[in-house]
Each structure stands twice: as structure tokens, then as C-alpha cells.
Amino acid sequence: MSPLLAIRDLHTEFRSGAGIVRAVDGISYTVDAGETVAIVGESGSGKSVGAMSILRLIPDPPGRIVSGEIRFDGRDLLKLPEDAMRLVRGGDIGMVFQEPMTSLNPVLTIGRQITEVLEQHRNASPSAARARAEELLGLVGISDPRRRLKQYPHQLSGGMRQRIMIAMALACEPKLVIADEPTTALDVTIQAQILELMKQLTQRLNIALIIITHNLGVVARYAQRVNVMYAGRIVESGPAAAIYHDPRHPYTMALLRSVPRLDRPRQARLEPVEGQPPDLTRLDHGCAFRQRCRFAVPACADARPALTGVGEAGHVAACFRAAEIGVETGAAA
């Protein structure tokens, strides 16, 4: 069975005063039907730009999808005409953004915003759309849907707004939902409610989910597969358990070691990733992580390592020393 989504060698760049920023610099990955894939990385790693490229939501200018292929459900999205692409956005692919207040229209009622999606994408009649909107609010756990449909976004709490966003993303029974930091703006108990809701709904409706986050705990709880991004590239990818228990890229290792854990008494000291993330306008042809890497060798300055298989099936890392590093940490653990 071919995957639902297959991204091949995607390059997206932005022109800026300081030069060309290669925000996404050749990423490839697949998402199977019904699968949850997490994209992890820090600010500027290209995780959001990569996801927005799938929907062709890159502002042009200054941005541009330079090359690559995004095969979704048998079609290359980068070759679709704009009107066909509009049907994909919010139709076959739903979106949930970080800040529900800025992604909802403040002057339209909740009901109007949901019915608009249904009328645009599914040619639903106004009454059918209203009935479906009510059903959707029930699905995302909002009580008294009839009253809520008449309210405006500012009358709802942050958690409630994010539930509305999820309802809108699910309105047209998509095959894939892209959630960009869906809970970062929310409090921890509300974050837990929203993530649990997304997990249950994607499982029940067999929807694939790409969840973009910087929170390693969220990834561990919800994702089957993980792509770790650094400076526009995927540096490690694999099943969640392999990434957490047998990380092979020094950046992944450093990231996991730098977070304090709630379930363990405090250790003497955290081990931060030293230094700062690189300037994306000044990347050379060597490995972008080498200045911060404690395993770096002279060869790292000569070429960018490609993703190569390590450990179990489907686990790849972009590091010349991935094999020996794994042995070293295995002995230490």
C-alpha cells in the first residue's frame, strides 16, 4: 500500500535582506493513512514551513517552494492548479493552528465559520450545514452546541476555541490533519484535554495526523513516528520508541538530555545543548550541527551527512558517527 502522503526532497526558501534563508532544505518523509507523525524541532528549524508547504501556504514573496514533490492521495500537490488546491485545503487536509484566536474570524459567529467550510467544500445546503455543524460541536465535546453556534470567538475560552478549530478541521471528513503547535498556547490541563480529544477522534475516524511541536512529552504520548528537524533538515527519523530509547543523532540525544523530567528526582545539573542555533543564511556545505556537537570530527565540515539506516527498521539518522555513537550511549545507559 502506498502511503497517504509522500514528501520528496522538498526545498522552501525565503528571500531576506541578509540573503536567502533555506528554511526547508531537502526533506523527505511519508505519512500512512491513520498514522500520527510528529515533527519536532526548535524555532527556525523549518518544522512549520515544511508543513505549510504541504498546503502551499507559503507567502510569495518573500517565500517560494523551490523544488520537490508532495504526493498526497495519488496527486502531486505542487502541480495542482490553485482552484483545485483550495479544495484540498480544509477539504481533504484539515488544519489546526497554534493560536485559535487569530485563526478564527472575530466578526463571524462560530456557526457561520463552520457552515461556510461545508458550503464551500461540500456544497451543503444551509440547513444541512447547520445540522452538521451542531453534530461536529458535539463530536469535539462542546455542550449546548445550538447556543455555542450563535456565539463569537471572543466569548469562548482558549480551550473551547481550539475545540472549534478541531471541529472545523474535521468538518469535511479529511484524510489528513496538520496540527501546528495545537496546544502551545493552552494551559496544561486544557492541553491534555485537547490532545486526548485529537487522539480519540483521529483513531476513531482513521485520520492521519501530522503534529508539529517542540514538546518532547507530547510527542512521546501521542506519536507513532517522529521526525527531528534541525536547520531545515530532518536529522533523525524513526518509530517513537527508537528515537527516545536509542537516539543516534547527537542533536536528538542532546535535546532529550536537556529537558528536566517530572517523573524523576532532580539530578545534579541539566546538560544543555551549548551554543546557539545556526544562522540559516550562512550555512556551509558541512553538517549544520557540528559547532554545537560533542562528537564532531574534521570530516563533519566537509559534507552534510545523509540519512542512513541505524538500528531497527525505519530508523534513520543523518550523522557520520551514528553507528558508533549508538554503541557509546548504549554502554552508558
Binding site: 524555532s43 496544561v188 490541563t189 517542540h214 529537558v259 528536566p260 517530572l262 532532580r266 545539573r269 551549548e274
Partner: protein, 333 residues
């Protein structure tokens, strides 16, 4: 790990602190129509040299509590006793001397530094205001010293904040707080705006500074993992009140208040094996409005162990075990 108990007078003592903000309505004649009970009866102490964590979700009053201690707000009632003097009762002129001894580190290193001032001028400003180091050359030398204490190259003194990354800016904010050689620092979410790999650098810096200069911290945060790592004691706030307070490991290993338990359960652990093995049921509902808080125990509408009397009587904080304070009538040890 617990700190040795010293029978000394605490450095800071907060007693029955209330901060109610009036809500005004009307365009021409403003009149008060209600009040937000942001802080509604909070008691705690901070011993010299320790770090007390103040945790809770948005709107629980943790930041307002910090602002009352700094006297950025004048409390509605209650006492804030710092080294024997009630700051809540001091007038403007007498406060100035205390402001030297109590400093603050803010959450957002982007909005808390003046973009038109150089880093050197930002750090020198408190020294000018308080008339210490009036000699310009000595002040410049002190700025350079503070920068290097905070792990920045002294040449940054001539830079502007926009030329720096978030982590570097937060180091400037810390250098500014240290400029007056304070004894007590209110850290209001100092790492939550930073990337994961940078957070650990700042956490380590705060720990080093405490040890080196004998500082005492009130650490306000919503990230419980960071609090567990950094604090000796922790107070959990909900809707303007402290619901539980204990030494750090006790609170995280054996939380007694149902809200603390819900809060801890909501935090995902960065370990897929731990997460898969966990039965997880997030706490229902959302934090009620502090304008019209629930009667009795403020947590009772969401509480899994509530009994009818919880809706009538407000539970007072009581010491159920030595040093372990819980405000819940149903907790028995």
C-alpha cells in the same frame, strides 16, 4: 532532597495577601460593577537561600502575587514582610531602598528590554537610578563584569537587543536584575519563552548565580518539570489561593490535593514506554472565572472526590504532615 531546616526568621513572609481588581463599566461615569479576585488570601514564607516555586495555570494569581511582592501592585489587604518590614504598607520613598534588595526577571526577553537602548545602558540604568557606581568608568566596568557573569561576551555591551537571540536577551535581563546586588529575585516564567535547548542553559545559570551570590528566588512558572528541577519547596495555586505546599520531592512524589494530582497527571513524560503504560483521564472542565468564583472550595466543580459540603465551606490550608500544607477537607493522612 530537602534543605536543612533553619530556625531563622524567613527572609520573606506573605500573610493573608489579597489583591482584588475592580471592574469598571460605563463610558462617561465609570463605576465599579464587580471585582476580579486575582489573589484571595495567600500565605507563605521564603527562607534565605531557598527557591520557592509558585505554580499554577493562567489566571491563578501567581504573577499577581509576584507583582504584589515587588510592589508593582499595592495589595488590597495583607502583609508582605521582607526582612522584618511590611512592604505593603510602605510609601513610595521608603520603597526605593527595598527595591534595591528585591529584583525581578521577566518572562518575555523581547518585550522587557528597551529596543532603543544598548545592552550596556540597559544594565547600567538601575545603578544610575539608585545612585550606586556614580563613576562612569567604574559603571562600565561593572556592566562588563555582569555580562561575563551571565555568560555573555562583554562586547555585547555595545549591541542592541534585536541583534541577540532569545537566550542571550534573557541573560541580559538577568544581568540587569543582578546589577544592584539584590538578595531576593522574583523570577516570573524566566524560561518559558525560550527554546528547549536554551532553557537548560538559563536554568543552570540561575542555579549557579544562587549558589555564588547567596540569592533567594521566588520562581513563578507553569512548567512543572523545570520547577521540580530548580526548587526546594513548591506552592500550587488555583484561582487566587494556595491549594497545596510542600517540599519539592514530597509534592511531586506524593501530591495530596486533587488539583495537584490532576495537574501532574496532565504533564506528558518524554518517554513513550512510560506514556503507553499510563491510563490517562484528563481533569474535566476549565478554570472558572475569578470574577465569580465557585462557592466553598473553588475546585469543587471539577474535583473527582468532592462531597456536598465542598460547595459550602471553604477549606482552610492545614498542615497534614510536617511542612506539607493542603487546603482540602477530604484529604486524610
Amino acid at each position: 532532597m530537602s534543605t536543612p531546616v533553619t530556625p531563622m526568621r524567613p527572609l520573606l513572609e506573605v500573610k493573608a495577601l489579597h489583591m482584588h481588581f475592580p471592574i469598571a463599566e460605563g463610558v462617561v461615569a465609570r463605576r465599579a460593577v464587580g471585582e476580579v479576585k486575582a489573589v484571595d488570601g495567600v500565605d507563605f514564607t521564603v527562607r534565605k537561600g531557598e527557591t520557592l516555586g509558585l505554580v499554577g495555570e493562567s489566571g491563578c494569581g501567581k504573577t499577581t502575587t509576584g507583582r504584589c511582592i515587588l510592589r508593582l501592585e499595592r495589595p488590597t489587604s495583607g502583609e508582605v514582610i521582607f526582612d522584618g518590614i511590611d512592604l505593603a504598607a510602605l510609601d513610595r520613598n521608603d520603597l526605593l531602598a527595598f527595591r534595591r534588595r528585591i529584583q525581578v526577571i521577566f518572562q518575555d526577553p523581547y518585550s522587557s528590554l528597551n529596543p532603543r537602548m544598548t545592552v550596556g545602558a540597559i544594565i547600567a540604568e538601575p545603578m544610575k537610578v539608585h545612585g550606586i557606581e556614580p563613576d562612569k568608568a567604574k559603571r562600565t566596568a561593572r556592566v562588563r563584569e555582569l555580562l561575563s557573569i551571565c555568560g555573555l561576551n562583554p562586547r555585547f555591551a555595545d549591541h542592541y537587543p534585536h541583534e541577540m537571540s532569545g537566550g542571550q536577551r534573557q541573560r541580559v535581563g538577568i544581568a540587569r536584575a543582578l546589577a544592584l546586588k539584590p538578595e531576593f529575585i522574583v523570577c516570573d516564567e524566566p524560561v518559558s519563552a525560550l527554546d528547549v535547548s536554551i532553557q537548560a542553559q538559563i536554568v543552570n545559570l540561575l542555579e549557579d548565580l544562587r549558589a555564588e551570590f547567596g540569592l533567594t528566588y521566588l520562581f513563578i512558572a507553569h512548567d512543572l518539570s523545570v520547577v521540580r528541577h530548580l526548587c526546594q519547596r513548591v506552592a500550587v495555586m488555583y484561582l487566587g489561593r494556595i491549594v497545596e505546599m510542600a517540599d519539592c520531592d514530597t509534592l511531586f512524589d506524593t501530591p495530596l490535593h486533587p488539583y495537584t494530582q490532576a495537574l501532574l497527571a496532565a504533564v506528558p513524560t518524554p518517554d513513550p514506554t512510560v506514556e503507553r503504560g499510563r491510563v490517562f483521564r484528563p481533569v474535566q472542565g476549565e478554570v472558572p472565572s475569578p470574577i465569580n468564583p465557585p462557592s466553598g472550595c473553588v475546585f469543587h466543580p471539577r474535583c473527582p472526590i468532592a462531597v456536598p459540603s465542598c460547595a459550602r465551606t471553604r477549606p482552610e490550608p492545614r498542615e497534614v504532615l510536617p511542612g506539607h500544607v493542603v487546603a482540602c477537607s477530604e484529604v486524610n493522612v
